[in-house]
Amino acid sequence: MQDTSENEKTTTGATACLPIKNEHMDNLFIAASPSSPEVDFRFDERRLSLKGESYPENAAQFWGDIITALRRFLTEDTDSAAVTVNVALAYFNSSSTKMLFSLFGALNDKAKAGTGTGTEIVLNWYHDEDDDTIFEFGQELMEDFPDLVFNDHAVKS
């Protein structure tokens, strides 16, 4: 409890488990674990990235906290510059799939709200070139969230 960010965390109450400040948005970094991806949300650079595998014990909680931080950024953000989202997830389990859908839904809402004012959200969707499952999930996202600029990237294995 010596460091100040720890104290600020506790004052935010509901979001105590994430390093979020009241005044301005801190970046969010969560290191990869054997069953959860690296989360590197550099809100200040408007660059968000997800990398690795996702099958945490409680996907609703893991992704729920991340979505809360993301929504807060999207709500507070007034800059009109584009936001780039890089997603390179090699595997996600069924409960993570559901949560990812909500995450991209939140981004799409922001892109939609920004129509005319110029907030562009670019989603770079990386997958192994022969991974049909992840490719197809990207196609689902593209269909459901048309306000995102979706770029499919097939990576050679």
């Binding site: 069924s94 409960s95 799939t97 559901k98």
Partner: protein
């Protein structure tokens, strides 16, 4: 010397059974998130070594995780460490066999009577669907509200059904009543990849 021969004999018996049943991976015991993550590594290596192509490896891995996490979430046999209710540890078993280039993923765990009925309903329904209907239902469930009693967003069995090359097979043993009169069945599931 006779002691050593005896140890070797036990191994030979065990190995010949494993080989006869085409078993390439087997685990029985408690399942926790840490154990699953370690096994996931072992399964990846094992199926790679067995020569499965990338797409098959991914499907096997996916179904393995869904099965193992089902055990952590739904097995009726839980391990409670004293003073620690945080980590879920539930008893179950998984094995993977490889016969004529087809992989079979099996899992087994005890379930309470109410869970057993839901599993039966869900799996009988899935078994009645074509692969296109499974994909459609997957898409619908992805966009629907999560059922309150589900930890896997209702997508777990749909994911396994989607990845399998044949309908999911299951059996439930007749319920045995415990001391409190609550029935428990063994739930067996097999996915063909």
């Amino acid at each position: 010397m006779s002691g050593m021969n005896n140890i070797q004999k036990q191994w030979d018996d065990f190995h010949s059974y494993v080989e006869r049943r085409d078993v390439i991976f087997y685990y029985v015991g408690y399942f926790s998130q840490t154990i699953i993550a370690a096994m996931a590594d072992a399964v990846k290596l094992r199926v790679e070594h067995a020569g499965a192509v990338a797409q098959t490896r991914r499907k096997l891995f996916s179904s393995f995780i869904e099965m193992a996490q089902n055990i952590v979430h739904y097995s009726a046999d839980s391990y409670e460490k004293e003073g620690n209710s945080e980590a879920s540890m539930r008893h179950g078993a998984v094995f993977i066999s490889l016969t004529d280039d087809r992989y079979y993923l099996h899992c087994a765990n005890p379930v309470n009577a109410d869970v057993a009925e839901k599993l039966r309903e869900k799996l009988e329904h899935l078994r009645s669907l074509t692969i296109d209907e499974i994909k459609l239902e997957y898409k619908e469930t992805l966009r629907a509200e999560t059922p309150a009693d589900s930890k896997g967003a209702g997508l777990g069995f749909l994911t396994m059904a989607r990845d399998a090359s044949a309908p999911l097979e299951f059996e439930l043993s007749p319920a045995t009543a415990d001391d409190n009169g609550n029935g428990t069945s063994m739930f067996y599931l097999r996915a063909t990849i």
